[in-house]
C-alpha cells in the first residue's frame, strides 16, 4: 500500500513565524504535490514537483515555497505565516502511469494566530 505521511496533523503558529510542513512517500513516485483545502473552495494546488529539485507553481503559490532534495520528501515552507494561511494542507504523490492516481496524506491542519 502506498503511504504518504505528513509530519504534523495539527499545528498552531503565530503570525510572522516560519512554518515547515513535511511530506514523505514510500512508493518511489516521481510526482509530489501540495494542496490547500478551505471550506467551499475545494482543493487548490500550491506547488508540484515532477522530479528531485524540480518544482512548478500551482494556482496559488504566493506566500509559499517548496523544497525537494530527495525523491521521497517534499516540503512546504511558509516563510512568514499569515492568518489567511490558516487552512488544511494536503500532500499527494503520483506515479507517471496511465491513471495518474493521486495518493494523499491525511493532511496538516495549520492555524495561524
Amino acid at each position: 500500500d502506498v503511504k504518504v505521511t505528513q509530519s504534523s496533523r495539527y499545528l498552531v503558529k503565530r503570525t510572522g513565524e516560519k512554518v515547515f510542513l513535511e511530506c514523505v512517500q514510500d512508493m518511489d513516485h516521481e510526482n509530489m504535490f501540495w494542496y490547500r483545502q478551505d471550506p467551499g473552495l475545494g482543493l487548490r494546488l500550491i506547488y508540484f514537483s515532477y522530479d528531485v529539485k524540480m518544482k512548478e507553481k500551482g494556482d496559488i503559490p504566493e506566500g509559499y515555497s517548496v523544497s525537494r532534495e530527495k525523491k521521497e520528501r517534499f516540503s512546504l515552507i511558509l516563510e512568514s505565516a499569515s492568518t489567511n494561511q490558516t487552512s488544511m494542507y494536503l500532500c499527494a504523490s503520483s506515479n507517471r502511469d496511465l491513471t495518474g492516481e493521486l495518493f494523499f496524506g491525511e493532511g496538516s491542519r495549520l492555524t495561524v494566530l
Binding site: 504518504v4 510526482n31 504535490f33 494542496y35 467551499g40 473552495l41 475545494g42 482543493l43 487548490r44 494546488l45 508540484f48 515532477y50 512548478e56 500551482g58 494556482d59 494536503l90 500532500c91 499527494a92 503520483s94 507517471r96 502511469d97 496511465l98 491513471t99 495518474g100 492516481e101 493521486l102 495518493f103 494523499f104 496524506g105 491525511e106 493532511g107
Partner: protein
C-alpha cells in the same frame, strides 16, 4: 483544463443506489474522468477512472455517454460509511494541474 459542475449535496438512505452526475462540457479528446472520495479529516482517495462508456470496479460504476460531456458515478446500495465528499475531475492522466472543485457532499441516512 475542463471545468466540472456537480451538485453541492445529496441525501440518500442506506441500501439505496446513489447516482452523482458531473457536467464537463469542455472535455478534451485526451481527458479522462476521475472520481475521488474524501472522508472528514482525511485526504481524498481515488475511486474510479474512465474514458468512455462504462467502467465498473468493486466500489462503483462510472457511466460516460458518447459525447463525454457528462458522467455519472453510481454507488450501489450505499451504507452510512459512504457519507463523504465526492469529487469529479477531468484531465489528461498524469496532468499536474487537475482541478478538484468543491465536490458533492453525500449524506447517507439510516
Amino acid at each position: 483544463l475542463a471545468k466540472t459542475t456537480q451538485p453541492i449535496s445529496m441525501d440518500s438512505y442506506e441500501g439505496q443506489e446513489v447516482n452523482i452526475t458531473c457536467s464537463h462540457n469542455n472535455i478534451a479528446t485526451n481527458d479522462y474522468i476521475t472520481w475521488y472520495q474524501q472522508f472528514p479529516s482525511q485526504g481524498p482517495r481515488f475511486i474510479i477512472q474512465g474514458y468512455k462508456t462504462k467502467v465498473t470496479n468493486e466500489v462503483a460504476s462510472l457511466f460516460i455517454p458518447a459525447d463525454r460531456k457528462s458522467s455519472t458515478l453510481s454507488l450501489p446500495r450505499v451504507s452510512l460509511s459512504d457519507t463523504a465528499v465526492y469529487y469529479c475531475l477531468v484531465g489528461a492522466p498524469g496532468s499536474y494541474k487537475l482541478i478538484f472543485g468543491s465536490g458533492t457532499r453525500l449524506l447517507v441516512r439510516p
